[in-house]
Amino acid sequence: MNAMSILVPLVVAIPLIGSAVTLALGRRHSRQITVSVVSLTLVVLAAAALLVLVDRHGPAVVHVGGWQAPWGIVLVVDRLSALMLLISALMLLGVLLFAVGQGIVDGDSETPVSIFHPSYLVLAAGLFNAFIAGDLFNLYVGFEMLLSASYVLLTLGGTGARIRAGVTYIVVSLVSSVLFLSAIALVYGATGTVTLALLAERIPALPTGIQLILGLMLLLAFSVKAAVFPLSFWLPDSYPTAPAPVTAVFAGLLTKVGVYAILRTQTLLFPENPFSVPLLVVAMLTMLVGILGALAQADIKRLLSFTLVSHIGYLIFGIAIGTPLALAATIFYLVHHISVQTTLFLCAGLVERVGGTTSLARLGGMLKAAPVVAVLFFVGALNLGGIPPFSGFLGKLALFQAGAELGTPLAYAGLAAGAVTSLLTLYALARAWNMAFWRPRREVENYESSMLDRLTDDPHDQGSVITKTVSALMVGATAAMLLLTLSLTVFAGPVFAFAARAAADVEAPATYIDAVFPNGTP
């Protein structure tokens, strides 16, 4: 029992214990906050330690309860998992501080707090469990944990709009979960195991037709969760109605678990990359359809939701190419996108409170009213749009390089789609910034614009403007997360080198298999 194998189960155990404690402390709000913050901080530390240890000594493997791999549950942390653990733990902690700041200002009338902290920690535990799962079924359990918690968080307060949005989200998620479980059943029927390391050997030995069916079922189930076009229709309708911190976490992390699952299964179980061509086409469509949707939105939260969908396309593009460089770029872009999208949604939350609405038709003069928020949103937007020298540019550049290296016409088409999407992202976000922040307040009334008239507003928008104060903690949390995205730019060299090492592990499944079965597979 070395240090690594103690740390691995802790990343799931700490949030779960924290969740139980916060549930018991239902009425003691300040203690709930302390417990949540402490448990997520501990996870951040554990994840950071794991990252260093795994990078030095190779994957950490824990056979839960001492049951050896194909029979017991196995937890595996390789470089990719460790990186995902660290970045998601940091995001969860930052958003938690934002939520605490919002709760302090509101006196907690908006969210029934007694259930917020337990659900949030269960969400965290499910997320971490999905990242360290060494078998398909444990991955499913991780998904279900985080989804159940997300159902509760999305319908917090139980208002009409949230129930309506929640129903769409829940039904779609249920269908994808059932599909995933059926896929697991078929995988078990075909191979007699659900352990990923063993499947990596047995699935390539199956007849091609069965391989394709299994791969396609898993891909479909994960694509719904990752919001890959055309399975992305549910996302822009359900995310924006939730409270701002919840939307930020969902946008930053929930779709990325789907991408992580696609990345893990496609590289480990289907090393031949049989879905390269369809994935390339789908990636292009995701980018273009997503960003065209964003262009038509007048509501900042809906606009961001559509950019979220479109940027999933870049990740799928990288996975579809599947070369080591492409995978390294995908991992780097994953980290970049998790942090920048979460930050932007938090900025939208700040805009909503200072400006009273997120509709561009009624926002104006925010640069004067909230200069700090204006800067935060502006830098985040440039980063997402891929302006040099930010990490968004570096990630896209690496993806484009990988696409050009592959050199097929389809890869070049994807590259072009990526460049167009990047420009349109910048256009959509710059327009939103101009309207909300730069346009003087007095021009908002009777504003004549053929462009604004063509934008569609949130269909459930009541047209009300309710401003609320912003606490220093909320701005501080957002600023800290923006600094994190900027540090991805400053330390892009080491981060990308790490992503390249992680990609090399992912590219060669032998590393993963040897870590789980040091004495050879049974």
Partner: protein, 148 residues
């Protein structure tokens, strides 16, 4: 691998019926559909365990050779628990959306079946019940005094 035809037919019927019902707009029907599809999936996992056999785990009996595969049973149990939890959550959601549809947001201000009563009338209720308590106490005290 061999599987029972009955189970396969049952699974297919459950899947078909479940998917059909899930296509309805009503949330209650979606829930019923989900329960059917969830159980169909459980059956699918069960079918994947192959032919029936002796009790798993318990070794040292004559039936060791054709022991049933225990793993799908474990997977099924977990899936059943998860489905149960989600069913409960959807039921709560259905109740909440029914509440909102019937009463709207004002419904949240109603407390219980005494809703609509004014504060003074509930105060009266409270006073009369405490009067009753006092009367009961008085009669008890009187009874105690009568006792030898």
């Amino acid at each position: 691998m061999s599987a029972s035809l009955t189970l396969v037919v049952l699974m297919a019927v459950l899947y078909a019926a479940g998917v059909y019902i899930m296509l309805e707009r009503s949330l209650t029907r979606v829930l019923i559909g989900f329960v059917l599809v969830g159980n169909a999936t459980n059956l699918l996992i069960f079918i994947m365990s192959g032919r029936p056999g002796g009790s798993p785990i318990i070794t040292g009996t004559a039936r060791d050779a054709n022991m049933a595969d225990p793993v799908p049973q474990v997977l099924m149990l977990t899936a059943i628990v998860i489905n149960f939890g989600i069913t409960a959550l959807i039921l709560a959601l259905i109740y909440r959306s029914w509440w909102l549809a019937r009463l709207g947001d004002e419904g949240d201000d109603l407390t219980d079946e005494h809703a609509g009563e004014t504060a003074s009338s509930s105060e009266e209720n409270f006073r009369s019940s405490s009067d009753d308590d006092a009367a009961v106490q008085a009669s008890l005290d009187a009874g105690a005094e009568d006792a030898p």
